[in-house]
């Protein structure tokens, strides 16, 4: 397959409705329509598959749609929902391939060159893309073909999640697809309908020169699409430097409890996006739109890079409890400063300490309870005053303690006293090179009967357990 371009198209049908479903997953099974306000009339901008099964179509008035489907649920069109869902889909695709193209709302093209060695055959790549889209709350179909156009048509016309068009078989695979999938201009579509051209195969069979003479550049583009050819070069998309999720509400939020309920799905979506890109948030910018017309902005510094919803929600909730918005809230927007988190693991022989995510949450709650001044680790200050101390932020050391040393000799190891000690045995080498080493070794007997060898690196001053006699 080397040298042959292959593209995948990730397609989310009825994208405006899908963006609403992403914010309110409970609406997936119900007929849903997204409305826009035009003059005094509410027009359907989009509808989900359940609504379309009941003959609800875009462009209808709300009244007409409600007459056709009495159980229809409607939501206003909120541009932030669509923009956030569009970014989420792009980031999900970016987790699979570094070369993607934004094909418009609900369409992402993915260059699959080289992915076969990483993921597997085109079917597996398609399944991975569907899975990634699902992690950010979108139900996608994927087409894989030799061109972006063929891949998009394959995805749009299929009823299964993944459709793979064999190399060189694009024209044959597209021949039976209705012409409607190309989203042609209405005048051009009407002309072709009058000619009796209803499928891509019939369009591709038309003489190219004749199409150019009669239909102009738009007809030529449609002819190329019918043949499965790309008209424009691939334009790679790079992620923007911000990560934002927003939620508009139809009522005014006055209590912090209700605001937390609204914040949770926003943070869930944001964390889903961060997780899909293997990132974590360091700082959150909270922007609350107020009923008074103003904004209430808070910057919440997270104690450690996190991508878990629960501690994030607790920290945001506690911050808003300490700094409540001055007026009822009508819109919520949260943006994250992403960083790449370094995974760590505690030592096998170290005693357990509170997990940072648990500790941060409980410290924030305690600070809200007793105040930040009454919480922390005490430290003695250099003063003759008997009650002199200072409070530091609680941050227990994670490294094991070095042996307590009296003079040069080790006196205590962890909780055990050194009862006998022999050393130091000095050794060094390769001092003429960059890998020079020098260490002092001590054989010690501990209070619990253990005999071990300790070593001190003379270059760094670090102590470590070299071995245990047994």
């Amino acid at each position: 397959m080397a040298g042959v371009s292959r593209f995948a198209c990730v397609l989310v049908a009825h994208f405006a409705a899908a963006a609403v479903e992403r914010c309110e997953p409970a609406l997936r099974e119900q007929p849903l329509a997204v409305l826009t306000q035009t003059a005094n009339i509410k027009i359907l901008a989009d509808a989900n598959a359940a609504a379309r099964e009941r003959d609800v179509r875009s462009g209808m008035t709300e009244t007409e749609a409600a007459a056709r489907c009495p159980t229809l649920v409607t939501r206003p069109h909120i541009e932030e929902h669509v923009a956030a869902a569009r970014h989420a889909l792009l980031e999900a695709a970016l987790a699979v391939s570094p070369r993607i193209e934004d094909g418009g709302a609900g369409i992402v093209y993915v260059d699959t060159a080289g992915l076969d060695r990483l993921i597997g055959d085109p079917e597996a790549i398609g399944r991975r893309l569907v899975h990634q889209a699902r992690t950010v709350g979108l139900v996608a179909r994927v087409g894989v073909a030799g061109s972006r156009t063929a891949a998009r048509v394959a995805a749009a016309s299929a009823s299964v999640p993944v459709t793979v068009v064999a190399p060189g078989r694009e024209r044959a695979a597209l021949a039976g697809v209705p012409l409607g999938v190309l989203d042609l201009d209405p005048p051009l579509a009407a002309t072709l309908a009058r000619w009796g051209v209803r499928t891509l195969g019939e369009m591709a069979a038309l003489p190219r020169e004749g199409v150019t003479m009669r239909l102009g550049p738009a007809g030529l583009r449609a002819h190329d699409q019918a043949l499965g050819r790309d008209h424009e070069p691939f334009r790679p998309w790079t992620p923007p430097p911000f990560w934002e999720e927003a939620q508009g509400v139809e009522w005014e939020i006055e209590s912090l409890e209700v605001l937390t309920v609204v914040l949770e799905p926003v943070l869930t979506r944001l964390c889903g996006r961060l997780g899909a890109a293997a990132l974590a948030a360091d700082v959150l910018d909270i922007r609350l739109g107020l009923a008074s017309g103003g904004h209430h902005a808070r910057v919440v510094s997270l104690a450690y890079p996190m991508s878990e919803v629960k501690p994030m929600l607790a920290l945001v909730g506690l911050d808003l409890e300490a700094h409540p918005p001055p007026a009822p809230v009508t819109r919520v927007a949260v943006s994250a400063h992403p960083i790449r988190a370094q995974m760590g693991q505690g030592g096998l022989w170290q005693p357990p300490v509170p997990a940072i995510r648990d500790l941060v949450s409980v410290l924030a709650r305690l600070a809200a309870l007793v105040g930040t001044d009454s919480l922390g680790s005490p430290t003695l200050v250099d003063s003759h005053r008997p009650d002199a101390f200072a409070m530091l932020a609680f941050s227990p050391p994670t490294e094991p303690d070095a042996p307590a040393v009296v003079g040069e000799r080790p006196a205590r190891v962890d909780a055990q006293h050194v009862v006998a000690c022999a050393g130091p045995w000095r050794a060094s080498g390769e001092w003429w090179d960059t890998e020079a080493w020098a260490r002092d070794e001590w054989d010690v007997a501990l209070g619990d009967g253990a005999l071990c060898r300790l070593a001190r690196d003379r270059l760094t001053g670090h102590w470590y357990l070299d071995g245990l006699y047994d």
């Binding site: 409980v362 305690l366 009454s374 005490p378 003695l380 008997p386 909780a415």
Partner: protein, 185 residues
């Protein structure tokens, strides 16, 4: 003072009159937890904890979370409730000082199960017992003697105090009295 340890996953209570050595016993527990590399939390209801004397007794203050409650009993109990639900602390200590607190049996059982689930030792120090049957071990400290010190015939400082401990309740052993110990003033 020799090594002292409160049982993990259990509630231990230390009760006694003022100056009977109950705080010294608490500090000894904090010292041993910190020396073994673990972390401890102290909920100080009346803000009577002295970091200088604790450091002198060998407590590694970096491994101690000190929560000062300004005499508010309800705040102290809520802080303990939060801390015993945070896994990773080896010891959570509640110093009630001279405050007499009545804890409903339901709350005591709630603490007991939280302590067991998080595998943390909960040590409650106060004038009277707090958790009733939920405590695995209850100890009373009693003062026996005191020693004064000074360069001349008139003492200038309290030198040390002799204390004995009596087991009031032990789920796994009958009540008993231990030999008395001296502790530094």
């Amino acid at each position: 003072m020799e090594r002292v340890a409160a049982a993990r996953g259990e509630i231990t209570e230390i009760v006694g009159r003022p100056s009977s050595g109950r705080t010294s016993l608490l500090v000894a527990c904090l010292r041993d937890v910190a020396q073994s590399g673990e972390t401890a939390a102290l909920v100080d209801t009346e803000e009577t904890f002295d970091p200088a004397s604790a450091a002198q007794a060998g407590v590694d203050l970096r491994r101690l979370l000190w929560v000062r409650c300004g005499g508010r009993r309800d705040v102290a109990l809520r802080a303990v409730d939060m801390l015993v639900r945070c896994p990773g602390f080896a010891l959570v200590a509640l110093d009630l000082g001279e405050l007499v607190v009545r804890l409903p049996a339901t709350l005591a059982f709630r603490l007991k199960f939280a302590v067991r689930r998080a595998d943390v030792a909960l040590l409650i120090v106060g004038r009277r017992r707090l958790t009733g049957a939920s405590a695995t071990l209850a100890i009373e400290t009693r003062r026996q003697a005191i020693e004064w010190a000074g360069p001349g015939p008139a003492p200038t400082r309290l030198a040390r105090v002799r204390t004995t401990t009596a087991v009031l309740r032990a789920r796994h052993a009958p009540p008993a009295e231990s030999p008395s110990r001296w502790w530094r003033a």
